[in-house]
Each structure stands twice: as structure tokens, then as C-alpha cells.
Amino acid sequence: MTDGSIKSRTGVHIEDRIIDEPSPGERARKRMFSHVGFMIGGFVLLVIIALAFLAPLISPHDPLDQQLARKLIPPIWHDHLKVTWAHPLGTDQFGRDYLSRLIHGSQISLLIGFSAMLISGVIGTALGVAAGYFGGRVDMVVNFLITTRLSMPVILVALAVVSLVGNSLTIVIWVLGLLIWDRFAVVMRSTTQQVRNLDYVVAAQAIGCSVPRIIFTEIMPNIVNNLIVVATIEMAHAIILEAALSFLGLGVQPPAPSWGLMIAEGKNHMLFDPWLIGIPGTALFILILAINLLGDGIRDVTAPENRN
């Protein structure tokens, strides 16, 4: 379009202003790059994901290596004799390098958060879309399931189940995944209800498309934005729950460097070495904040009219 206009196939000049108008995608991208929360949240989350993947390469020490001779070294910003650049964030009560544990801990948080979100997302979306699309009896049953699920306290049930079944990473992921699908179901149900009566869905029904086809090619693409927003919320939720479970001693087991577990282990030394709980807690806070900012950003960018 160097001359500012192009010739259409019939030879008629299409006016410049139609061509130069930004496409919806371009507009969304512009909103995306100018959205501070989205950019910050996305950037921080990417950094944490990169740290998790590169953990074995970049962490200065083995996160499980105990050296009692160098225990409880404070982080470098402390004015203390033992402070050393070999352990920038210090060491814990067993002499394990805190920075290495922190970096490896991001793997656990992200793995559990992502997997539990995936499981609950599949369950909740299936239930929610079915309820929204079919309505009637199906809707009643799904609503009933959601109410039942909501009436059982998540942390209590998760703790009880983990204590009875035994705790491993896989069990924690499954228990959380099977417990937190409610928001997916609620949101997907109401969005599907909004979409299902739109003209293009009715048109697809009229030309005889099969139900799976309508759901996957007509409805899903139009509710995927909301799905992503709920996914970020639930991933953050799962990460907080895992940290709480591990903090109480019924989640990820020692010596694994879960951030919740690190806070629990540091708790007894809180009086003299508060950084033992300060550092992993801050990491947890930053991770959750980044995911939430990203989620809010995606909501603002894809559906600015739904803001708050």
C-alpha cells in the first residue's frame, strides 16, 4: 500500500481510510502493549517461568545439600559477619542455600498451580458449557453440583483427604484440581448462556451442525477469553492453597523446597531470622500478584466493557 490505496479485483479503488483503519486484532494488541498491569504481570510471570525451567542450570547450589557448618547465614543486605556472596539470600537452619531453594521452589508452585488449574478447568468448563448450552435439566443438575461443591470448605476437605489418602505431589494436584472447578463452571455457564442465543449459533443449528461442532467451533472460541481469565484466577488460587497445605505440613513433603514449606520451616526461627519467612513469602506474593495482574490485564484487553 505504498501509494495509499489498492485496486480490488474488480478494478475499483478501495478508499484509503478503510484500509488504514486498524483491525480488531491490531487494536487489541495496542491495548495490550499499553496496559501497564498486563505488561508487568506478564513479564514477571515469564521471568518466574524461565527461572523454573532453568533452575538446575542457574541455581548456585544444590537446593537439598545440607551443610550444618554454614547454617542460618543472613542474606547479603544484612550487616553481619557471616554474610557472603556465595549465599546471596543466606542459608536456612540446615545450611541449605536459600536462593537455590527459592528458585527450585518456583517449579513446585508453577507445576501444582498449572496442573490443578488444568484439571479443574476441564471439569468446570465441561459442566459449565453443558449447563449453559442445554439448559433445563442439565442446568439444574450442574447448578446442584456447584452448590454442593461450594458448601464444602476447600482447605478442610483438602487437608482431610490428603491426610487419609497420603501426600505426594500428584495427590495434592488431583485433590486441588477436583476441588476448585466451581468458578470455571459458574463463569462458563453464564457466558455460554449469553452466547448460545446469538445469531451465529442459531444459524449453525439451523443448517444442522452437530452439537459438538457447535460447541467447539461456534461457542468455545467466543468464551475462551473468559476462560483464560478464570484460569489465571484459579491458578493463583491453587498456588495459594498448595502453599497453605505445605505450610500446615500436609502438602509437599520435606526436603522439597516448596515455598509454603519453607515458610513453615522458617517459622520457628522467625524471632531472630525473620527473613527465613520473609523471602519465600515475598516470592509467593510476587508470583500471585503477577498472575492476577496478567488475568486482570487479559480481561481489560479482550473485553474492556467488562471492567469491574
Binding site: S151, P153, L159, L164, V165, A244, P274, G281, L284, N308
Partner: protein
Amino acid sequence: MLIYAVKRLSVAILVALTVSLLTFSMIYLSGDPAMALAGEAATQADIENIRRVYGYDQPIYVQYFDWLGNALKGNLGQSHYLNSPVSEVIFTRLPVTMILGASALSFGLLLAIPLGVLAAMRPNTLIDRFALGLAVIGQALPSFWFALIMIFFFGVALRWLPITGSDSWLNFVMPSIALGYYITPAVMRLTRAGMIEVLSSDYIRTARAKGLRPSIVLFKHALRNAIIPVVSLAAVQFGFMLGGSIVIETIFAINGLGQLAWESILRADLPMMQAIVLVLSCFYIILTLVADILNAFLDPRIRVS
């Protein structure tokens, strides 16, 4: 109104029955409950004996209906560890958790509603940004960590507040904040959104045009309508808080239901665990039932749909 109430009540009863079924099936999560109870050194005869005494040899549905029938009569079984009736122990612990929940809810609402109203009165100004920022930060703060940070500053460094126990009201200050701040973001956003919507409606314009004082328009006309959805949200959140109090009570060593739940989990005291899950779930069900009926009473549109 009556039809709506009856419908809503029957759903609540069905939900409660489903929850009781799920809670009951918890004992089979660990495999054979008699074997778990007997311990590792038990002989086959011991296990058989326990199976007979606790009724685990009955068909499962008989066990369930026995358990349910007893639960309806207020008999939730015998604690495996404390050797006293479960319901008795729960009722001595329940008030503490209720006080904690109520004060946490009050703290959360007293922080969230004024902030939401202020933010809605001046959208996109500094106060609005501040409220939204507070909500974003609040959502990202794990409550158990926040509790520890408060303990460190107000309990250890400044020595203003007691760290553990539940003897005086001072003991409840930090736990209430740690438990209550978590509902602030959701309540604040809902209040703000409701107020913005209501403030731009016709009847508010009319009220202003009549020359009513701004404070009367704000509180008598606007807030009363904007607060309706907050009522149901508060009920739901109160239920969540009682469930979440297990973490906070453990941290602050508060002698309530949450700590009892935690102790029972550690002792593998199954009847106690089941009873606590059941009691908290039923409490939530009743809470949402009351909130829904209250809402239908306040807003006639709900009754019809």
C-alpha cells in the same frame, strides 16, 4: 414468596444430603477403616473385632443410614481419640470460631464497603486507584503469611498484641484481620460496581433534582440498593471464612473448631473430621439459604425467575 422459599429449602436439603453422603464416604478413602483404626501391630482377630464393634461389617448403605439417622438426632459419634461424644466437643469449640468469624467479617465489611462507596463516588481518581490497588494486593497476599508477618511486627517487635491463645479480645485482633482482609477485594469490587450502576440510574438523578441532601441520596437511596448483592456475597464469604479459619486458628493457637479440625486430622480421628466437615457445610448451606430468602424478600424480581 412462599413457593420460592419452599423450593429453595428443598434444594438446600438435597445439597445437605449429598454433602453428608460425601462426608460419610471419607472413611473409605484410606481403604479399610477397621484396618486403619487397628494399627499396624493388630492381628486379624483384632481387625475383625473392630469391624464388628464399629459396624464396618454392615452393608455400606446401612452404615450410611445409621450414621445419618444418628447425625439427625444430634449424635455424631464417638471421638476415636478424646473418648467423648463428638457433638459435645464441637459445641464447646464452636463459639470461639463463630466469634472469630464474626469479627473477621465485620473487619472485612467495615474496610470494604466504605472503600467501595468512596471509589464509586469518585471513579478513576486517586481514591479509586488506591482502593483497586489495595484489592489487587490483598488478593495476592497469602493469609497464613500475612498472619506471620503481623505476629512478627505487632507481637514480637512492637509487643502490642498477644501472639497465641483466645483469652481476651486482644487475642482476636490479629486473627480477625488475617482472616477478614481476604474478603475485602471481592466485597469492595462488588460495592463499587453496584454503587456506580445505581448512582447513574434515573431515580438517583430525580432524587438529586428534588434537592435532597447528597448524604441522604447516597445512603438512603443509593447504598440501600447497591448493598443487596453484598448481602449474599457476605453470607458466602462468611461460610468460606469458617472453613479457612483452620489455618489462622492453627497459627494463633486459638481454641476453636479450626484447631480442633487440625488436631483431629493429625490424630486421624475420623468421626471428628467427618463431623466438622458436616457441621461447617451445613452451616454454609443454612447461611446461603437465609441470604437467598432475605434477598428475595428485599428484591421481588428474584422470586419470579
